[in-house]
């Protein structure tokens, strides 16, 4: 369904540190640095962080979230801890998410620019 997702940043160095750590916890290589933007490649799409091309400040959406797939609970926990240690803030501690489909386990973060992201896995059983 998706080819790529972009979020905005006002500080690419700070943002890259955050995403290298959080997406690294999910098994991704450090972002490919393309100057004003950087990209992480997955099997079915890419995630990028960019300075807005209109020259205006990057602003986070309200109501918007990007959910990353995690392999297991340990990855979700590591994703959240890496975010807190690298300039992010918690928007929901790791734990079961009974309102999500299946036996979901997830954690929410804000990146240094306020963009809301989360990681989800399915618990066994």
């Amino acid at each position: 369904m998706f080819t790529h997702l972009l979020v905005g940043t006002n500080d690419t160095a700070k943002s890259k540190q955050f995403y290298d750590a959080t997406l690294g916890a999910l098994g991704y290589d450090p972002g490919f640095d393309a100057g004003t933007r950087f990209f992480y490649r997955g099997a079915q799409g890419a995630f990028g962080v960019t300075k807005p091309i209109d020259g205006q400040p990057a602003v986070a959406a309200n109501g918007g979230t990007i959910g990353f797939a995690a392999a297991d609970k340990d990855q979700v926990d590591a994703f959240h801890a890496a975010g807190l240690a690298n300039g992010g803030s918690s928007e929901g501690d790791p734990g079961p998410r009974p309102n999500a489909p299946g036996n979901a386990y997830g954690a929410y973060l804000r990146d240094p620019d306020g963009n809301k992201i989360c990681a989800f896995c399915q618990l066994p059983g």
Binding site: M1, F2, T3, H4, Y40, G64, T65, A69, N115
Partner: protein, 130 residues
């Protein structure tokens, strides 16, 4: 890589008209309508291994779009790229960036179109020739 993507809406019925039309051009069906415990309404579109959600913000504040943010959708042909865009414009969206067409970027030729949904969220339809 992506589990799901969610965008905010200030008028869920207006959003449904828009997203039913654009996702219809990709072959997606009706969304699942969900009411969160908080009472907020959200629509889940599941298609081709992905989940896209439109939600009333759970903090009760107005939905706002990101600046710098874009969501890219995979299309099967140049015609689908244009149809996605045109359906959006005809159902409450607005055209963004250059008109639908072929671009030669650093990643090679790509058919692209950009459209903003009624709340300003920026979408991109892409077909990369084989």
């Amino acid at each position: 890589m992506i589990n799901h993507v969610m965008v905010g809406s200030n008028d869920i019925e207006r959003s449904k008209i828009f997203y039913d039309a654009v996702f219809g051009t990709l072959g997606a069906g009706e969304p699942i309508r969900n009411v969160a415990d908080s009472g907020h309404i959200r629509l889940f579109y599941r298609h081709d291994g992905g989940t896209f959600c439109v939600s009333q913000p759970i903090d009760g504040r107005p939905a706002t779009f990101a600046n710098g943010g874009t969501i890219g959708f995979k299309c099967g042909s140049p015609e689908q790229v244009k149809a996605f865009h045109d359906a959006g414009v005809a159902h409450g969206g607005s055209s963004a960036e250059d008109p639908p067409g072929l671009r030669n970027g650093v990643l090679g030729p790509m058919h692209l179109s950009y459209v903003r949904d009624p709340d300003g969220n920026k979408l991109c339809a892409i077909h990369r020739p084989a």
